[in-house]
């Protein structure tokens, strides 16, 4: 056992040693250690290099407030987590940790040259220096600044772990499990409320775990914790979560909790997520987040070995580790004297206690105890500097006389300096919830004021001091929360006995001999912000604390000012002769501590990123080598390549098969809505541009839907199944929004109509059978219907059976050929698809995919809404104005079409585009110009919306929109591409069978 580890005491298990490495060197710790406590027990203080100046840094704290000791933990090649706080890493057998932001080594870091250059790297350095030449920004400055920035290295492999997410609800969520949190949870749970108690650390107890002597109701604190947890654990309405950080307070009492499930384990168990996100909706929230000790600000306060007094207490009492052998305590706060006593208890020598407060204050109980123990105390003094390269070795102390004059300094040898500027309540969550802060003059810090949500700050987070008061305040908050949540609650009171050192302190910089702000007196350790940076910002005219924050980066990033916020405010106040509350506070941002991306992704990655919607032919197509594409959440077959075929060859074959024999296509993804009621036709008259009154039962019509702004929104075939029943189809992507738009008009505009709508998209499987032989294929499968042209003309619909399944058959074509669409209830879809395929063999049937479908429709000039239209096209622009029911008094979008801008002749109109070279295929999205040889910026008159090679026409075809395009038919325009302008002749958008004869078979 190392000399720094006490022989007994603390919460580690000395019978269970653990091997671990840091920067490749092997060490031993114990079960119950953190990486930080185990390294300290091995005499290691140097754990990192600072962000900007690469200064050597050791531990400042012992918990989540730690700004310096950020390390990378490596489990395997993929599991490599940077920027973890050594204070929060629980030791496990075989743990491998590395320091960061150093090269070649932590002890000798080339980047530390920045430290010597630091007078040249003031606040705003980058903004001021890299202004010009402008071109150098992208090529030189930004890449180099980015390379120099940041601490750890992000992992390069995909994260192999999985992350779980849960929703949870409770009456009372208690955040933090120190004396106030435990008392709150106990009282709330006893009332019958549903309670969740979460604790950031590995075990419950908070500050009680750091106190050797505290008792509650006469019991040792640790025994009281055990008993309290036993009661809570037996209550089925209570959920206890350790290793769980409340990282964000979201509106309406939604709290984000990050539970670390496996990071502390040597062996990762099967099935367990690495982390679990809890989205907790709490009726009431009790914030018992405690308080964080502040550093003192003096030159060299960031040297390894200079740390918070409270951290030294934690290491001594919880881990049995003396943070040094010869300590100097510098304090402006009574409670810090307890650290000196605790260090003595683990065998350290207290060289000196320096109290920086002006004489005349009333000594607190901890100071009295230290005096009684005979510790050497120097009053009314200041720190002028520290020495030591990779570890503090001396500290310079000077007394201040009654006139405020700083006397001669004296240097004291030491291997650790403990400092305390008093305690800052953790108001982060309260502030995130938009609660107000008020300045507590007695404490010298901000405490929660008016709440914005249903929250109750309590305990040290509320500025309360003294164990009995903490227990009482917690119980009262727990009772208040449970009562507000509708339960009858009585506070369960306890009496605590502890030294109860006073937590008030002296924020800000210690007095120095010069009037200039001292160098290397750090305020924000994580962001490397010194007093000089803050002073410079103020000199340059930044007055608002929000501006100073952004200019200097103080209080920003992952640290969120946990240890620095109040010192920064105090320094700014002192420089500008203001009181701290007059300087104001910046907003605390979530997350409280850094949170993995994985926990937000949860299961939504890989195949579970989104639902994968599959059509009835999916498995069939997959087995035949079908190539798929994503259309919304749907997987659709793009093409069915045969041996040796590329996409183009497959598309050409599929297109020719439809033109010459017959093809089959899975159209199940089309949106379908059943519109039912005596006013169904009237509703559709008002909704679509078409006239539906004249549509007979058993007939269908191509419909166009606008928004009220007059622009094309969706299209589809609408069939009248009965006088009062229509089957409406929509685009695949438009199904949900068209349904929502229909509901909107029915519920809020035309409430007098007797009409209801029902989504039937997934009720029906749809097989399009298209081509000259399509009727022959269906005839061989259908015995109870007359499929003759007379009985079943183009745009008709009828019912029958196919392959034993009930069928709704549409005679309809999106290819320009004779065609049908077979609708069967979805669970028959796969069988019917296969039946059609088998029956079709005799007629050369060819399955085709969305690529061929697109070519076939483009050959006919049929638009695809969303591809050939873009939300700014009128029916006339899209060449579908023929569909308008002109006699109708109104329909959605009609009035907008009357606006002058909608009738201009130079609106972009849909046209066909034929390249002069028939083998050149234009790029979709390419811009169109009127004349060749233009220079940038060119005058663009339109763009290409669809472009394909047509095997039927043995040449390329394209659709596009051009300003006044219909007046340009026959003229040559150009599509500029790198190195050339492609000559294109404007044409009609109908390339194939312009008279439309083939549709009749």
């Amino acid at each position: 056992m190392s000399a720094l580890r006490s022989p007994k005491g603390g919460r580690i298990d000395r019978a269970r040693p653990l091997q671990f490495t840091f920067d490749g060197k092997a060490y031993v710790g114990f079960v119950g250690d953190t990486l930080a406590s185990a390294l300290l027990a091995n005499g290691v203080h140097l754990m990192g290099r600072s962000f900007k100046y690469h200064r050597p840094r050791g531990l400042l704290g012992a918990g989540s407030e730690e700004p310096n000791a950020l390390v990378t933990v490596i489990r395997d090649t993929a599991r490599r987590t940077p920027n973890l706080r050594a204070t929060q890493i629980e030791l496990y057998e075989g743990l491998v940790a590395q320091s960061q932001n150093r090269w070649p080594s932590l002890q000798f870091d080339m980047g530390a040259i920045a430290n010597w250059l630091s007078p040249l790297l003031p606040a705003g350095f980058y903004n001021k220096t890299f202004m010009w030449p402008r071109a150098a920004w992208h090529a030189l400055y930004e890449p180099n600044i980015r390379a120099a920035a940041g601490l750890g290295t992000a992992p390069s492999l995909p994260d192999p772990d999985h992350y779980a997410q849960r929703f949870a609800h409770c009456d009372v969520l208690v955040i933090g499990s120190g004396p106030a949190g435990l008392a709150a949870a106990k009282t709330a749970a006893a009332s019958g409320a549903r309670v969740i108690l979460c604790e950031e650390q590995s075990e419950f107890g908070g500050s009680l775990l750091d106190d050797r002597n505290a008792t509650v109701n006469g019991q040792a604190a640790s025994a009281w914790i055990t008993d309290t947890l036993a009661v809570l654990g037996k209550n089925p309405r209570v959920r206890l979560l350790t290793r769980t950080t409340a990282f964000g307070y979201f509106p309406h009492n939604l709290i984000g909790l990050a539970e670390r499930v496996t990071d502390h384990l040597a062996e990762l168990p099967d099935g367990k997520p690495r982390e679990r996100l809890w989205q907790v909706r709490a009726r009431e929230v009790v914030i018992a987040a405690g308080a964080i000790e502040r550093p003192l600000v003096f030159p060299g306060n960031d040297r390894p070995g200079v740390m918070l007094a409270s951290a030294a207490r934690t290491y001594a009492n919880r881990y049995g580790v003396a943070v040094g052998r010869r300590a100097v305590l510098v304090t402006g706060c009574d409670a810090a004297y307890e650290a000196a006593l605790d260090l003595v208890a683990v065998g350290a020598h207290i060289e000196l206690i320096v109290d920086v407060r002006p004489k005349g204050y009333t000594p607190g109980p901890a100071e009295k105890a230290a005096r009684a123990a005979g510790l050497k105390i120097q009053e009314q003094s200041t720190v002028l500097g520290t020495e030591g390269t990779l570890r503090v070795s001396r500290i310079k102390i000077a007394a201040i006389d009654s006139n405020g004059v700083i006397g001669a300094s004296r240097s004291h040898a030491c291997d650790v300096v403990l400092m305390s500027g008093g305690y800052t309540p953790s108001v982060h969550l309260h502030s995130q919830s938009r609660g107000k802060l008020v300045f507590d003059d007695a404490l010298g810090a901000f405490i929660p004021g008016k709440t914005a949500e249903h929250s109750h700050s309590t305990g040290a987070a509320h500025g309360v001091q003294g164990l009995t008061a903490l227990l009482r305040d917690g119980a009262t908050a727990g009772a208040g929360a449970a009562t507000a949540a509708g339960h009858v609650a009585t506070p369960i009171m306890h009496t605590g006995v502890a030294l109860d050192g006073n937590m008030a302190g002296v924020p800000g910089v210690l007095p120095q001999a010069t009037s200039l702000p001292p160098t290397k007196a750090f305020i924000d350790f994580q962001n490397d912000v010194t007093t000089r940076d803050l002073a410079l910002a103020q000199r340059e005219g930044f007055e608002s604390v929000e501006h100073i924050k952004r200019y200097t980066t103080t209080g920003m990033a992952t640290d969120q000012g946990k240890t620095s916020n109040l010192n920064a405010l105090a320094f700014i106040a002192g420089q500008s002769n203001r009181r701290i509350p007059d300087v104001g506070v910046t907003t605390f941002r979530m997350p409280y501590t850094p949170t993995t991306f994985g926990i937000f992704a949860g299961h939504a990655r890989g195949d579970l990123f989104d639902p994968v919607r599959k059509t009835p032919s999916h498995d069939w197509a997959l087995a035949r080598g079908g190539v798929f594409e994503d259309v919304g959440m749907w997987k659709r077959t793009r093409y069915f390549p045969q041996a040796g075929e590329d996409m183009r060859a497959a598309m050409d074959r599929e297109c020719l098969a439809v033109r010459n024999q017959v093809g089959m296509f899975d159209a199940s993804t089309l949106g379908k809505i059943e519109v039912v009621g005596k006013d169904a036709a009237e509703f559709l008259n008002r909704f679509y541009i078409n006239n539906w009154s004249t549509l007979g039962v058993g007939r269908s019509r191509y419909g166009i839907l606008l928004r009220d702004d007059g622009f094309v929104y969706d299209d589809g075939v609408v069939a009248r199944l009965a006088e009062d029943r229509f089957h409406v189809t929509t685009t695949t992507g438009g199904a949900a929004r068209v349904f929502a738009m229909m509901e909107d008009y029915l519920q809020t505009e035309w409430t007098e109509l007797s009409v209801w709508i029902t989504s039937t998209t997934e009720q029906w499987a749809v097989v399009a059978v298209q081509g000259p032989r399509s009727r022959d294929v269906l005839k061989s499968l259908v015995s109870d219907m007359d499929l003759s042209p007379e009985a079943m003309p183009h745009m008709s619909v009828a019912h029958g059976h196919i392959a034993g399944a009930p069928m709704m058959l549409f005679r309809v074509s999106f290819s320009g050929e004779l065609g049908f669409e077979v609708n069967v209830p979805a669970r028959h879809g796969t069988a019917v698809w296969e039946a059609i395929y088998h029956a079709g063999q005799a007629f050369g049937i060819t399955p085709y995919g969305t690529e061929a479908m697109h070519v076939l429709r483009a050959e006919k000039g049929y638009i695809i809404v969303g591809q050939d239209t873009d939300g700014t096209m009128t029916p006339d622009d899209a060449a579908v104005a023929w569909a308008i029911g002109k006699a109708k008094p109104d329909y959605v979008g009609k009035r907008a079409l009357e606006r002058p801008a909608m009738k201009r002749l130079d609106r972009k109109q849909l046209v066909g585009l034929l390249t002069v070279d028939p083998q050149t295929i234009l790029e979709e999205g390419a811009q169109i110009i009127a004349s060749a040889g233009q220079t940038v910026p060119m005058t663009m008159i339109g763009h290409v919306t669809s472009s394909y090679y047509s095997a039927s026409l043995k040449r390329s075809i394209a659709l596009g929109v051009i300003a006044g395009g219909r007046g340009l038919v026959g003229q040559t325009i150009y599509v500029p591409m790198p190195g050339r302008d492609i000559a294109v002749i404007v044409s009609s958008p109908v390339f194939y069978d312009p008279k439309g004869e083939r549709i009749n078979g």
Binding site: A164, D270, H603
Partner: protein, 182 residues
């Protein structure tokens, strides 16, 4: 089911006893005026609940409130034609809409001591019995899929999931069930 993450460990044998797929049934979407709803109750033989988010069951038939003018009627598959004919004939005087959606969605039963725990992984509602009692039914979300959630017993839930979302919902529930296998 296809393996859905690279992390799936082959050593886990997943206990799937929490999941059941009930037999195919008749599902009808019924919408209409209050008078039509009252008339449908007597024809269907189950009182269509007028309280929000409640269901009623008589024998093998159930009526689930989906919205103030919208119900999901569930019955054995063999009774489909009979029920459609009866409702169509008897309700001709009342404004309503009846649409067969039997194939639109699938039923799933999630049951057992971990049923609530499994569902809380993706459903944002409070499933405490005091907030989501037996017989309650509602459309809601399970992660990115709409579902209808219907509580049959303290630890038995019936889910109605649109056909093409079913695989997704089962896969997500199975992911969460892996935590139980460990």
């Amino acid at each position: 089911m296809a393996s859905h993450t690279a992390t799936a460990k082959p050593t886990i044998v997943l206990d799937m006893s929490w999941l059941e797929s009930p037999a195919h049934t008749t599902r009808l979407s019924f919408r209409g005026t209050p008078a039509a709803i009252a008339a449908a109750s007597s024809v269907f033989g189950v009182p269509l609940p007028t309280s929000a988010c409640r269901s009623a069951t008589v024998g093998s038939r159930s009526a689930l409130w989906q919205g103030p003018d919208e119900y999901l009627l569930i019955a054995p598959e063999s009774e489909r034609t009979l029920i459609i004919q009866a409702l169509t004939n008897e309700l001709s005087a009342h404004a309503h809409s009846l649409v067969d959606v039997s194939h639109r969605q699938n039923g799933l039963i999630v049951k057992g001591p971990h049923a609530v725990w499994l569902l809380e992984s993706g459903c944002p509602l409070d499933l405490d019995l005091s907030q989501f009692p037996i017989g309650m039914c509602t459309r809601t979300l399970f992660e990115k899929s709409e579902i209808t959630l219907w509580r049959l017993a303290p630890d038995i839930f019936h889910l109605e999931v649109w056909r093409s979302f079913t695989e997704y919902v089962i896969a997500l529930l199975s992911e969460t069930a892996r935590e139980l296998a460990a």
